[in-house]
Symmetry: D2
Subunit: 364 residues, 4 copies
């Protein structure tokens, strides 16, 4: 099932070492100004080889828009986008095609589908997230019409955590995040996080982390109880990202040890509007946005591909063996997963915006 | 959006103080033995008033099956079920209908829908979960045909946590869990957890916790990458439950600080089958079940209704005021949310089972 | 698959001789005035026993609203409705449960589902359409807020046809249609049509017909190319009605023999608005409403249940045999199918209205 | 809404004079042998310029497969296909972009979307059906694994009709149909049909017709009552094709004048299997396939683009004017719509096959 959304719908396709990856965005309103640059700048943030922490695979990830846009404005028809795979080196994968890599979906995809594209992880590769980022870029553009601003940042890599939740309303927050290669918001921790990544790589290992994603200026009223609640949609979106194993909204797991009197966000009046004094709920109550910032955190596991020798099984001989996963991999995917997390947030909000009527089918 | 699932689909309906709550289960195969008792025994586990820790609202929650079953076997047609609301006392709610209760969806529902049923939280009340449990009971019955066993238990209430992950394969695990009012699997912690609940209530407060849910004997191959991955479906299902603010699969957030060499589950051969030595992935790789136990944990916030006075706003006067939420509430919903968590797990697995063909449209 | 629609969604359930039939309407906006009477008056038009042409099964078809409405206004939550089956006489069906009735779905349902409710056709009975009419009544009420008026009428029974398309804008068109038991718009043909029905019954036979359904004041712009075009949605809706075997929009099959210069509806200005001079397209161009009346015709086959002896097969012995279908049946379902056709039209338009934003999620 | 299907799902995209048209096929099982040739041969049957009756636009319609296939076998992942638009001549359309062509969707698309691609009809052009044919080719290949054979043919053009329903079981039926440029099954009528087309063109006019589509060897049991009945799905699929204004199953509208005793298909035993003596129901009873041939007929309107001068309205000045639609058009689309009708039939059956389990998610 490669389609996401009810009205603003995205269908993605493509294998890591196939011809291309791409997506079709359906249900985008007509009349939105949109150029390749809007898409490309987001893809560039996800692109491999962007920093010394990322894989050395060289992909310029140049996107083509094949339909749905005319004279730089969307038509309300499906927007088809395509990104060619260029720097494909499948040689490393041939040797290991019968020995599933621990932590990867190699085994489960093979059990489910039988015939698989073993080159570079095929469809199971995180390369598919380029298509999500392309689609998300349209979602973001659409949401900016409503002043909705989405950004993600690293709050933890390995044992290095930022101390507390930052002030989201400060100016230049996007620039601060992009100013360091780990994309953390607390620049005092950037160096330590970077070191955690470098250290893992040095040891032929990898390391995990946590990404926080925030959406500002989301109006109250988005979300469709009871099964398409805003938080349910976000949880599904985030958990579908390769490597993500946990999602929490607002205080999340910390709420487990809190009392109701601590956890509840009291209502107050600010500038003649109803706000909550705190935002432990992460901007969502009863599955519907409150008007406060939407705050989500996702747990990202350490990259599964590591140089250390691991136990596995040869699927042809059904005997135990070992594997050393060579190839070009990020020792920590946290910095590069951020644009993907943002994209998924944008897809959820754009869809909820369309469903609720906040975003009409035709822009003026 | 009150329907869940793609092939095995559940639509729920009903307000807390309306006539009834209920659901329609569509896509259940024909030929499944099913009686009211199969449903009722699950509802009894969720029922209010079952222990001294739960609300004193008295509902026998007797379910009626109105369609889809003939001669105690399912027909493959929609199964409609209905549970009357009986012990309805709306008096406490009239006074507070214009003052949204902190932590509840009162405000957001009102902003979204305008006209709301203010009695007992209306559709936003956790009473709707009775319908989920009824539907989930059918899912469980169906899954038991494939020896799939689902159970949930408390791992944390307030500051009391169980020490480590238990052995799921022990006999009588359902009985152990049901043997204590907090439904924990580590009975040595049951008393402390109970005390945490009682203590919160004594102070007119409430307390949160964590529930773990496990599904045993799920075959490899369930899950639909990339947007209906098994973990994405579970995350959505769990996050749609009232009070749940976090979901993690396997080691979840703990993976953030782990190295790849620690996190990866190595493949080994056991009894001529491929297993993983550890199960940090919680039985899901690449969005598809591995054949190992599915392990999910959800963060449950403290009950929003507390006796302590809290700040709020009067929506008619748009002035700040305070509120004391009377009525009958669980000081901790963790024990009663467990059957709901299990039900949602069953709905996800039954649906994925239908989609994958594991569960046919007609049982023999 | 017992759910219809994308945003305004209806799920129906129930077997002919089970406890009840009913439906859940999800995605109806909040704030719509709605009482049982709004539903009941439509059900009364579909009810058995309403004229000497209809089955003698006596059902008052009294509907209960169980959720989604509070203080006579919709809540935006699912509206659950229930109609008890009362005059159930299954005795006639026991004898023929292994000999499928020609023209009915008995055989195909049995092959598909194995275990079936053989009483009165079970879920395959046209009794399920009561639930559609109940749901459609809500759709109609919603559409009337936008002045959209839906009505159906008989254009043919057996060999008796009305001569040409009537003027839909005349006053009292609903009353004219309801003034004769066959519900034709051309009252000069009513007696002949009635006679065709009576004649068929006299011979232990049944007869088919054609129903036309019109929606006035549908604004231009409804429909979602290319797979949820307005006409595609209508076609699906109509063809799902028991006994319907053909659907045409506007001139339909007559267009096959026309030239383009005859078929094309030229655009003209009337009252400063763009209209078409003719309406051969039935109000739909490119899958989107034009603003002209939506005109649909459906072919209704003769009632399958007839007293004449027919060949069939005994499914237990797999030998040929014969059957005489006793029980209480309409010799012609055309008059009673009209409210069902209208209901399906209303469901399509209400859903398209919600999708397009014409109908918001909250009425003022 | 540009996606069709529930499990076997097709999303199409592309404007007539844009870069390309294409589609993504999701839910196709893994392990199906598939090459570009399988797709291309179907596209060649729909291609413009294939006979003297068709438009002179020259498109080789060469398809590229971008994903989902590896080593000539499907992967179970989305299959992305692309067909470049080459012989694009938009010059004729600039002059008429503000004067909607009668019979076309120009006006309704403009009212709905505001910003439109006026070149060659944009997304409203029948060019989008190339993508349907590409997707349908995969559906056909999949169905052939189950010996299901689909073919369409012309039964009427203008006033020329074939006399009666042919024998579908004769050998070489595909070759007979392809042997004449109008693709009729009754070759004795081919010349007259051809003449009807040529005559219309000679007069600067166009002509309509009827296409019948048959699927042989469809097993009993496909179809999902009550809203995704097999006939409802087919009706929706067919009515979504540009130019189609009517759909009938089996005897269709002829049933209106028949008696039940004539219309009902009696059950008999043939070769130890249950068959129906006649097939007035077109192979579908109760919304489920009977095992007899599926028989569908669609009414195709005359091509809307004609050289004759017609009335229209200038949307900028809102004044009446006239239009003469130049450009390259088929005077009768019936022959070229046949591969599209077949493709839609294949998509419906492939989806129902997947839903019912007839087609598994993994081929052996």
């Amino acid at each position: 099932m490669n389609t996401f959304g009810r009205i603003f719908r995205v269908t993605t396709w493509g294998e890591s070492h196939g011809e291309a990856v791409g997506c079709v965005v359906d249900g985008c309103p007509s009349g939105l100004w949109l150029t390749v640059d809007d898409i490309q700048k987001e893809l560039d943030r996800r692109r491999p080889g962007q920093s010394h922490l990322a894989t050395s695979r060289v992909e310029d990830d140049a996107v083509e828009i094949l339909s749905g846009v005319f004279e730089d404005k969307t038509l309300g028809t499906p927007i088809s986008m395509l990104i060619r795979n260029k720097d494909v080196d499948s040689s490393k994968y041939l040797a290991i095609r019968d020995t599933p890599r621990p932590g990867h979906g190699d085994l489960t995809w093979r059990l489910k589908f039988g015939h698989v594209d073993w080159r570079g992880g095929g469809r199971g590769s995180a390369r598919e997230t380029a298509a999500r980022v392309a689609a998300g870029a349209i979602g973001k553009k659409l949401l900016r019409e409503h002043k909705i601003d989405i950004f993600g940042f690293t709050t933890q890599i390995g044992n290095v955590k930022i101390s507390e939740s930052p002030d989201f309303e400060i100016k230049g927050i996007h620039e601060i995040i992009e100013s360091n290669p780990v994309r953390t918001i607390d620049v005092t921790k950037a160096r330590d996080m970077e070191e955690a990544v470098v250290d893992a790589r040095r040891r032929g290992d990898s390391v995990g982390g946590v990404v926080e994603c925030v959406a500002l200026n989301v109006p109250a009223g988005l979300g469709e109880p009871i099964f398409n609640k805003l938080d349910a949609g976000i949880a599904s979106a985030m958990m579908s990202i390769p490597g993500v194993k946990g999602v929490e909204i607002g205080k999340g797991f910390e709420l487990a040890k809190m009392l109701g009197s601590e956890a509840n966000d009291e209502f107050v009046i600010q500038n003649k509007k109803i706000k909550t004094r705190t935002n432990n709920s992460g901007g969502i109550l009863g599955g519907i946005s409150t008007g406060m910032p939407i705050v989500v955190r996702v747990a990202v596991k350490p990259t599964s591909s590591i140089l250390k020798r691991q136990k596995t099984v040869n699927l042809e001989t059904m005997k135990e063996t070992t594997i050393k996963v060579e190839g070009r991999h990020d020792p920590c995917i946290v910095p590069r997963v951020i644009p993907v997390v943002e994209a998924m947030m944008a897809l959820v909000l754009a869809d909820q915006g369309r469903i609720s009527g906040m975003i009409p089918e035709k822009l003026k």
